[in-house]
Amino acid sequence: MQPLLKISGLMKSFGGVNATDDVNLEVKKQELHAIIGPNGAGKTTLISQLCGTLKPDAGTIEFEGRNITTIPAYKRAGLGITRSFQITSLLLAMPVLNNVALAVQARDSHSFRFIRAAHKISRIRDAALAALEQVGLQNRASDNTATLSHGEHRQLEIAVALASNAQLMLLDEPMAGLGPNESEKMIELLRELKGTHTILLIEHDMDAVFALADRISVLVYGKIIATGTPDEIRSNDAVRHAYLGEE
């Protein structure tokens, strides 16, 4: 089967430091593929190149067999790649519902619709509410986003990704800063999404990664040193040496 996402020979350096060093990676449909690596391994640089906010120096990115290396960020989203943000970048001045509704609305070919009030369009409203319900935020729909807790912001990030109906969800450290209870909730949520959505998960929380991932790639100094099932990764000498050993 053709992989959903295929990265070949991707390179990106900043002032002589290779943040992405010949990365080759395949993400299959419906899998939850996790990328782990120590701080400064180049995880966020990789995500930025995938969603198009950063241009790679060399290499190709293919999505559904199509070369998307050079197409602009907003068009990639249109193809079905969506990302969540590490530092919460939700629209804090807007109600919770609007954050999700904007993701639903983005599925349309365009939003140059000037007349009808957006909140009265039931198609958008219903889809947004459904996404909120999936992450358990349905009761907060009309609250101001700024009033939500950190954990709820994380959940809302997932709801936004869900609502955009993405074929590939890039989740950038969804557990960051969560307490044990909230982490538990988030793992549960991701487990529910697993199998129905293709997810590329970048995460620090090892327990979460090993509990959830179908496959794991280990990124160290911009290089992928191993890819495999959680069991394979656990027993991989190179990984133990370069990464797990340090923990």
């Binding site: 989203a77 807007m94 983005a106 939003s111 140059f112």
Partner: protein
């Protein structure tokens, strides 16, 4: 919901006052106040149009007076040629044609400058919009045909069916009706799907891009709509003053317009109207006492920036935690 209804009450009150008071002033034999109200209402249209991009799109244009100026010259130049000959292509007193010119040219100007301005952000955007306005300012200063620095007198006002702009009351109600229309347009646009994207991009542009929106195109569209509405206000202003000069588009005018929006409260329908009302009235009051009225006026502006962050409407409508909707 409390703030919502209070905001609506304020809106109704302000609009009712603007509908009823000026004609009463006229009948009471005080035509001066009608003039004041007309100027106020026309500037309010410009402020409402600026608010569309400033208050809902986060685009702080410091060059909106240029649109007013271009709109005014779109009335003055055709009228001039109709009176003194030459350039038959545009020579006309026809108000519909002049407004078509005003709106069309400002829209095109906004489109061209917007493409460049919107590549920049923050203080660069502020300064570039200002610089483009200066460019238009200097163009008209050096156009000797139309009076250059000294400006141009409009001998004949725009001609419309049924409306006679030489009648101050007609001019006032045309302006007032236009203001209500402008407010409705901005209100509708900002609540639409388009408006959601616009406000989203103000909150976090990168997120909107990652969702798949070409935010540049949305912002540019809003910029063009705003510029064209401001051009329309300029056409009215030309008819009101019957004297136009490059001075109307100097950068201080753009600054004043921005102040009206902030003073009243950006990002609400009625805010800019309150702001321009207060601005015009205080200006009138101070300048009737002393020729040094810019001193207290400047201090007032400073005080507004330092202490009245959310604008007057923010104060009137109480805590106002739910900004916007």
């Amino acid at each position: 919901m409390g703030t919502m209804s209070r905001k609506s009450l304020v809106t109704l009150f302000v609009l009712a006052a603007l509908a009823i008071l000026p004609p009463i002033f006229l009948w009471a034999g005080n035509a001066f106040y009608l003039d004041l109200a007309t100027r106020l209402v026309i500037l309010a249209i410009a402020a409402v149009s600026l608010n569309l991009i400033l208050g809902y799109g986060g685009m702080a244009s410091f060059g909106h007076a240029a649109f007013i100026g271009i709109g005014a010259y779109a009335v003055g130049i055709p009228a001039y040629h109709n009176t003194y000959g030459e350039f038959d292509l545009v020579a006309s007193y026809n108000g519909m044609f002049q407004i078509f010119l005003a709106v069309g040219i400002t829209a095109v100007f906004a489109l061209i400058t917007g493409v460049i301005c919107l590549r920049t952000k923050g203080v660069y955007f502020i300064m570039i919009t200002m610089a483009f306005a200066q460019m238009v300012f200097f163009m008209f200063v050096s156009l000797e045909v139309y009076g250059g620095d000294d400006g141009l007198v409009i001998d004949t006002r725009s001609e419309f069916p049924l409306i006679n702009l030489d009648n101050p009351l007609h001019l006032y109600f045309l302006s007032f009706g236009s203001l209500v229309a402008a407010m409705l347009i901005v209100r509708t646009i900002t609540r639409s799907q388009f408006g959601m994207v616009l406000q989203g991009s103000m909150g976090n542009d990168e997120r909107l891009v990652s969702l798949g929106y070409n935010t540049f195109a949305y912002k540019l569209t809003a910029y063009v709509i705003s510029g064209a509405m401001c051009g329309y206000a300029g056409a009215l202003l030309g008819n009101f003053t019957t004297f136009i000069s490059p001075e109307m588009m100097g950068w201080t005018r753009s600054g004043e317009l921005m102040f009206m929006v902030i003073l009243g409260g950006a990002g609400s329908t009625i805010g800019p109207v309150i702001g321009s009302a207060l601005f015009v009235l205080v200006e009138e009051l101070f300048s009737s006492y002393t020729i040094y009225w810019h001193l207290p006026f400047g201090i007032m502006l400073l005080a507004v920036v330092l202490f009245l962050r959310r604008g007057l409407l923010g104060v009137i409508s109480g805590s106002g935690k739910n900004e916007g909707h």
